[in-house]
């Protein structure tokens, strides 16, 4: 059934490795960007709150394909932004990380904001009473507890991100689904074997993530 793999024509591991890299870089990017956004949304500065709310609602409701193709067609092909240059392969990868981070950051932000809501208001008030600034209250008191509360929701965001990386093939990133398209083109007689293969590949990537982070979530949860 999977004999087309024996030809050595397809670099299956290489393609999934690109998927993993995309996921890891974008996860880091969206974690940073999402934390900043969450900070903006709970900040005392009205302008930051308006920006945070507007950005999250705008980008979260834009289809990811549109965000990524927009990065490629808009930023790269029309405005000639190359993010450091190189060939299409590396530009495409960086554009994909940018787009995925910009998009996933909104979900990280919302997950984190729900985590901030689990921290009792009294804690922030007590911190304020000690004379801590807003930044100190947020980074020393609220966020550490918020993060511990939202490990499971963030795991879901990470799993969704892993699967969302397949959209990057639309802008020429040679990840798993791009290889799937090549295999479908050549091995149309084994269509379902190809589908099953890639479905299993993604299960292998996402299932351990879910199990591991589910375990971590239980370990670090703040017992109240």
């Amino acid at each position: 059934m999977f004999d087309f793999l024996d030809s050595g024509q397809y670099d299956l591991l290489g393609a999934f490795w690109v998927t993993v890299q995309l996921t890891l870089y974008s996860a880091a990017g969206s974690l940073i960007w999402g934390t900043l956004l969450a900070g903006m949304r709970v900040s005392p500065v009205p302008l930051l709150r308006v920006f945070g709310t507007g950005y999250v609602n705008l980008v979260r409701n834009t289809p990811l394909t549109l965000v990524l193709v927009g990065c490629s067609l808009g930023l790269n092909q029309t405005l000639s932004i190359t993010l450091g240059g190189g060939d299409f392969k590396s530009i495409g990868f960086r554009l994909a990380v940018l787009g995925l981070s910009a998009y996933t950051g909104t979900f990280v932000c919302e997950a984190l904001r729900s985590g901030i809501n689990t921290v009792p208001v009294g804690q922030a008030e007590a911190a304020r009473a000690l004379g801590l600034s807003f930044r100190q209250v947020l980074t020393l008191i609220v966020l550490p507890q918020a993060f511990r509360a939202v490990v499971a929701p963030l795991a879901n965001v990470l799993i969704a991100l892993t699967k969302n990386t397949t959209v990057a093939s639309a802008i020429g990133v040679a990840e798993a689904s791009a290889l799937m398209k090549t295999m479908i083109e050549n091995e149309s007689s084994a269509l379902f074997a190809v589908f099953t293969l890639f479905a299993l590949g993604f299960i292998l990537l996402t299932l351990p993530t879910g199990l591991l982070l589910g375990w971590v979530s239980k370990r670090v949860a703040v017992k109240r």
């Binding site: 193709v69 490629s72 067609l73 790269n76 092909q77 029309t78 000639s80 060939d87 299409f88 392969k89 495409g92 093939s169 639309a170 802008i171 020429g172 040679a174 791009a178 290889l179 799937m180 398209k181 090549t182 295999m183 479908i184 083109e185 050549n186 091995e187 149309s188 007689s189 269509l191 379902f192 589908f195 099953t196 479905a199 299993l200 299960i203 299932l207 199990l211």
Partner: protein
């Protein structure tokens, strides 16, 4: 406990895969009843200008559409009795094998891998992989020039694979979801050339708002004989379609359809290919 969860998920994935397969099998019944009722279902491309394109009003236009309409007429079906069905490249073999369509005319290159699953009538058009460049660009004259160029094609397509494997392994190749997405880059000089079958390129370049902006280079990088795909072993239908195609060439309708669909792009078409029996 956790292991049970994992195996359950794996089993779930398998069940899902099997359900999808089963769906494909079910549709077998629909079509056998459909073909008897005076209607004919034909698979075409709906997103390739010049070949098969769905117009904003819902009708279809293109060379493949003209050929399919002509063949259907010869088989005894009026144009109004044709049911058009979208046939994306990856699904063509399954549409035919499952009996969802009577035949497929969708820029369908005849090759050995496909012949394992379906039979082909024709070929009715000989296309070549070619390059579309900006109208004022004269820097590409031979295949070797491509190695220093930025090319654009569709993810996973045969044309993209040809460039990577054979034609110009050193070329900077951008793979996009669709050919129209490559056109923006070509217009803005982010890419130098768009590569796929010349018939498809001619169709794009012949679109009203793009006429005069792009031109075909005419390198003939590969041979792509387009055939009409039909169910394996249906020699009666194959002979009928071949006869229809021969008639289309001999009475001049073929030449007229080529001129109407590809003419504005300055496409130098090959003469009608010899149709096999």
């Amino acid at each position: 406990m956790k292991l049970q969860k994992a195996s359950a998920a794996a089993a779930g994935a398998l069940v899902l895969a099997l359900t999808v397969t089963a769906c494909g099998g079910d549709s077998n019944d629909d079509s056998s009843s459909g073909s008897g009722g005076g209607k004919i279902t034909i698979g075409i491309k709906t997103d390739q200008p010049g070949i098969g394109l769905q117009l904003p009003d819902g009708s279809y236009a293109g060379f493949d559409v003209d050929v399919a309409t002509y063949v259907a007429k010869e088989l005894g079906y009026d144009a109004k009795n044709i049911v058009w069905k979208k046939a994306p490249s990856a699904e063509r073999e399954n549409l035919i094998a499952n009996g969802d369509v009577k035949f497929v005319a969708a820029s369908y290159t005849i090759n050995d891998e496909r012949k394992k699953k379906v039979d082909f009538a024709g070929p009715y058009l000989l296309a070549h992989q070619d390059l579309l460049v900006r109208a004022d660009d004269t820097s590409i004259t031979k295949v070797e020039d491509l190695n220093s160029k930025k090319l654009c094609s569709v993810t996973g397509s045969t044309s993209a694979q040809n460039v990577k494997d054979k034609l110009a392994p050193k070329a900077d190749l951008l793979e996009r979801g669709g050919y129209s997405e490559c056109l923006t880059g070509l217009e803005n000089k982010a890419v130098d050339a768009l590569t796929t079958d010349d018939s498809i390129l001619a169709g794009f370049a012949a679109q009203k708002d793009l006429q005069g902006k792009f031109k075909l280079v005419g390198l003939k990088l590969s041979d792509e004989p387009y055939g009409i795909g039909l169910k394996k072993g249906d020699t009666e239908l194959k002979t009928k379609i071949n006869d229809a195609l021969k008639k289309m060439v001999s009475d001049g309708s073929w030449e007229k359809a080529v001129q109407a669909n590809f003419g504005p792009a300055g496409y130098k078409n090959e003469p009608a290919p010899q149709i096999a029996d």
